[in-house]
Subunit: 711 residues, 2 copies
């Protein structure tokens, strides 16, 4: 068996830069996938040799065909298989025999059609392993490489894109066709374009690493429907960003599929997958986009213009209204409006008419022509307080649109500061926009759309400066005692651990559990209460009860011996009445903590990303405002602090407006310890510390209740 | 003096439908405003007669000119004044003498350039009043009427739009040119197009009423920078919606200008103007748009397609990825995915290939041609569970885009259900999109963009059904006692009323104030405390102190006589130390209410909308989450309930998850009474009841603290 990891880079390179291609299973009929693939490669002026393999034809479009791929007399770098799924395995087997190691399988009819298809797909993987083949697909649109030394269009896309610096990867083939069409109209160029379909062999991960090393690619864009291995994706993206400074933009669909498995326990119902995906992407430095338009809006900002030093924007416009709208959007996006230096103000005053507005946003007035735009732009570009410029144009009768477009392009070319534009309208401004696009000036139909891309580039630049070299995960050493306890509990059939089991596990991880004692009679409850010291809290203990309050299984503020006895009896009575089938193991007595601030900590196992740590403030804040922070585990102390500060209600812990400053360090420590637990014990499906009571600064925190659910 | 209200409709009608026009101050030079206006009217094939008035010319473009407007030998319906601002008054005077009652003043150089300009503008208004003239402008782009019986282009816009049902009004002339250009490229037609500039005479309000009665207009769009009289705008919009069912869409800029007057008191700092504008628009049924694209996205949905019965969407697509993205957006927008009937499922199964997805979203698969789209659309259109259809197309090699566009158009034409489309991409799909536009099928570049317009139309339809006939405001009868108290307080120089004054006013409006007693010595404080019953609260009483806690002027939980004495002394000491300049009037003693839920009520006087009522839950919720509801006063009981239910934390009042259900009725009553106070007393700039303590259902609520600031 060949080690496929070693040969992967070489195989991948031949997928993008083959010197010879066999199109295996092509036919003469146009407007069919097998027919179009061959024609696309042929008509795009591929710089190597194409061998059509077609059992039923002698030639196609004047090119000699071969019956089988093994019949091709020369060496073949890349095979593109377009046979029906039923014979793809045979075709791949022959590719292996022929010594081809790089394959694209376009054909559909595999995993996506059900169990039988999956079997066929697994067969492909087996053959690939046997021969050391790397393949893209099946069920994909194909691969495009615009590099003029190759010019490969091994796809059934309708058009070949112009050359550019954007790489686009997509799990959906159909979306690719829309993207190509969209980009074509906007003159957006691509370096590589890959539809990877079912990713039975090569996935987005391997492609990420390849594109990192591709000198033609500056930005990597991706459409994903399913994240198979979230951690590997995070690690790959982080490494790509760190080592190459190439941004990774992902459009991930399926945002609302949460609620599919309405989770039994509290934390479960909170941890919507989509929020976790958001958190994971942020941790890795991945830029998540909400739609195709936004994705390309951001991509062109990355590709065409320098990174800004900071976030102070100057707006130059010939119309007040759009200037105001853009100011609103600039502030809302978290950018700043630059305050001009005295010198700039003087320069503007000198070069603009008196009716112009020389403050930011600069209004050069409706009758402005190219010279006036040029003067204003050059004045603000020189200002040290300005980090980037938004140029807005409305087509008024005096506006020389094309000259202004040229003027803006000239100014931007001579500057190290980013210049974005919005020539508003569509018909009249079309020629001007073409000039901007030709000169690599990002152009946006709406002036407001300039803000998000600017902010994204600015944030990415900060990420590179501050976080890129910090390791994504630093795995803590394993805690064998804790691990063992979980393993022991997992052996039992119960999925829900009881209070005692949970407490022991948390204790092993040095999490601040409270001393808990169990009473099995009213008398015992009273005695324990006296020993513990009033006030106390009593809670039902039962494997069968998750939400202890629901059947009346929790009583707070028990202040005397007599109250303690009554409380015990009431709890037993309530549970008997409301959940008669529940097996009662006793009633647990703990000291009631007063004047603490309640927070929630949790672990949730995500199908894509594995163990995730959750933090929020009190049940109500989480439930009503979804004020929660997530991180993919493991979480170090710095990240734990970030999680605490990220929630909007963190002021209640840090001591805003006269509230008591709480022991945040204790909370951060608890988060880190919980993260160790999560990493050690993959059996944990959900863990819910609710509440963790946080005392004043220096006084620590105490776990009041815990739920652990195993897988 | 002529009553201008009576003649306004006739005057306005002549602005849009003149039989003869004098262009007053035109010149021969092209590419200038005075020159272009005349040419635009001439070249657009105006259906009446044009008289150029130009002191320096004998003819322009072959048309005989007149030196002054009074020289025109025939009757003139409309004068368009393009003279420099310095002589506009003379021109308007002559128009009056000539008997012209309808005028558009294009010229700039008025209010927008400062005080001298404002004087000139006031002079215009005086002349208009003298002669009973109604005029649009000054400082505007002009007026367009596409109605073929008139064809008026009295503007310096570069192009004349196609005829349509959308009326567009704009305070910014420059934005108009961008909008016209944008709409032209999308084949969007207009009925009337008005740039009203400084609105010295005719404002958006008069235009709203005119457009309501204009049979050519179905939807009214507006760009506003400044709302002069918010209440009149609300009333006008509401009336237009109620009587004509024409939606009013407004793009209002200046969203972030809040914070300009960082308000002294608590409520002030919360009541950002923009949130108030949001609330006001919602009350009146106005649809607020965030940008031009969104505005037209919504407008075409209104104009082209029927209103949906409910919000259950069927998606038909030839690509899975965009189907998933659109499903996400549909759910996020608050729409539902339709569940198909058995019959529909059967129909789809019969007419689609086995690989197709016959569940919603329906995937007709990449090789679908028009027949398959047609079958799927007709099947789901027939389903009673479907209220509207989103059709998505990606341009794949087999896709017959134009035929599909025709098929969709045919299906939509035969249905009473709305059909929206997104043919993704741009270049390849262009012809298909044109067919859709021609057939009045709303088309959106992004499939996700179909959701917001659908939801907006659906909500508007609900507004008409449920709220349109409910009066916008029902003014409560005045409370003379309360009014007098405020007037008396206003006579004093102090802007901040003290606790006693505030309490008396609230009491007059039957708001639930607590019995408050003032102590001026530690002994007296102790005596009052005993009489009141422990625990008590003590608060400093001083006109000079707004935030009583800041200098240590509030002590809670005072439980004994001894504690009471200490508390008094501590408060006095704290205030002496921290605010030595404050004049202390005593210390106020009240019973401490326990176990209540704290809410905030307030009045804020908005410069555009007048008195506004505010409601939120406790300081932290308001400060951290801005969880507040606003309504323009007066507020009736039904609206008060809406305000309570609208905040995200309302569950804490209604009794969610084991919390105590609170006396919401008492809160609603308090809101209504506060609204009466607000309406009676325009002197109040801010009033802040913080907190109002809400007891259990049936037990009422109690005001714990109040601040009133007069203007």
């Amino acid at each position: 068996m060949i080690n496929r990891t070693d040969i992967l880079p070489a195989n991948l390179h031949k997928i993008f830069y083959p010197k010879s291609i066999a199109v295996v299973g092509t036919i003469k009929v146009k407007r069919t996938v097998p027919g179009d693939i061959f024609l696309n490669i042929l008509q795009t002026e591929f710089q190597g040799i194409i061998y059509p393999v077609s059992p039923g034809e002698r030639s196609i479009s004047g090119v000699k065909t071969y019956k089988y791929v093994v019949d091709v007399p020369d060496e073949v770098d890349l095979a593109v298989i377009v046979f029906p799924s039923s014979v793809c395995n045979l075709a791949l087997e022959q590719c292996g025999q022929k010594g081809i190691r790089s394959v694209i399988i376009i054909s559909a009819g595999f995993r996506e059609v059900g169990k039988k298809g999956l079997e066929k797909e697994n067969e492909l993987t087996r053959i690939a392993e046997k021969y050391g083949i790397s393949f893209i697909g099946p069920n994909c649109l194909g691969v495009i490489n615009t590099d003029p030394v190759c010019r490969l269009n091994a796809s059934f896309a309708r058009s070949f894109p112009v050359e550019g610096s954007i790489a686009f990867l997509s799990q959906s083939g159909a979306l690719c066709t829309a993207v190509l069409d969209y980009a074509q109209a906007k003159n957006i160029g691509f370096s590589k374009f890959v539809s990877f379909g079912n990713k039975a062999d090569i996935s987005e991960i391997e492609l990420l690493y390849y594109l990192r090393d591709d000198p033609k690619t500056k930005v990597i864009l991706m459409y994903l429907e399913e994240i198979t291995d979230g951690r590997r994706l995070m690690e790959a993206a982080k490494e790509v960003i760190e080592t190459s400074h190439k941004p990774v933009l992902i459009l991930k669909s399926g945002r609302t599929e949460e609620g599919a498995n309405a989770a039994a326990s509290h934390t479960g119902s909170l941890a919507g997958k989509d929020e976790i995906c958001d958190a994971a992407f942020k941790q890795a430095g991945i830029i998540r986009c909400s739609n195709i338009e936004e994705m390309f809006n951001i991509a062109i900002a990355f590709v065409y213009q320098p990174f800004p030093k900071s976030n102070r924007i100057a707006i130059v416009t010939n119309a007040g209204g759009p200037g105001v709208l853009t100011t609103d959007a600039t502030i809302k996006e978290g950018l700043q409006l630059a305050a001009f230096s005295e010198n700039t103000t003087l320069l503007l005053k000198r070069s603009l008419p008196t009716t112009a507005n020389i403050k930011n946003p600069v209004d050069v007035i409706g009758d402005a022509r190219a010279d006036r735009y040029g003067a204003a732009i050059s004045a603000v570009l020189k200002d040290d307080n300005v980090d980037g410029i938004f140029v807005i144009l409305t087509p008024q009768s005096m506006t020389d649109i094309e000259s202004i477009a040229n003027e803006v392009s000239r100014s931007a070319a001579n500057s190290v500061k980013p210049v974005y534009t919005s020539f508003m309208g569509q018909a009249d401004v079309a020629e001007g926009i073409k000039i901007l696009e030709y000169n690599n000036i990002p152009h946006y139909i709406l002036p407001e759309s300039m803000c998000k891309p600017f902010k994204t580039v600015y944030d990415f630049n900060n990420f590179i400066a501050t976080q890129a070299t910090v390791p994504l995960f630093s795995k803590p050493p394993a805690n064998l005692t804790g691990k063992n306890l979980v393993e022991k509990a997992a052996v039992k059939t119960n999925r829900y651990l009881n209070e005692i089991e949970s407490t022991d596990i948390l204790e092993a991880y040095e999490l601040p559990v409270t001393k808990k004692r169990i009473a099995i009679s009213a008398e015992e409850a009273a005695t324990i209460s006296v020993e513990t010291g009033f006030p106390v809290v009593m809670k039902i203990l039962s494997h069968d009860i998750i939400h202890k309050s629901d059947p009346g299984g929790v009583i707070l503020n028990i202040g005397s011996e007599k109250e303690a006895k009554n409380a015990f009896n009431n709890i037993i009575e309530n549970v008997h009445k409301n959940m008669p089938e529940a097996k009662i193991e006793g009633v647990q007595v703990t000291k009631q903590i007063q004047n603490g601030r309640e927070v929630i900590l949790g672990i949730k196992k995500d199908p894509s990303f594995g163990p995730v740590i959750m933090f929020g403030l009190g049940g109500i804040f989480v439930e009503l405002f979804r004020d929660i922070s997530f991180r993919i585990a493991p979480v170090d102390k710095k990240t734990a602090y970030e999680m605490i500060k990220e929630i909007r209600s963190s002021g209640l812990l840090t001591g805003m407006r006269g509230t008591i400053p709480r022991d945040i360090e204790a909370v951060a420590n608890a988060i880190v310890k919980l993260s160790s637990l999560a990493m050690d014990c993959p059996q944990i499906k959900e863990l819910d510390i609710n509440p963790l009571i946080v005392l004043e600064q220096g006084a620590g925190c105490i776990i009041a209740d815990t739920k652990i659910i195993l897988e």
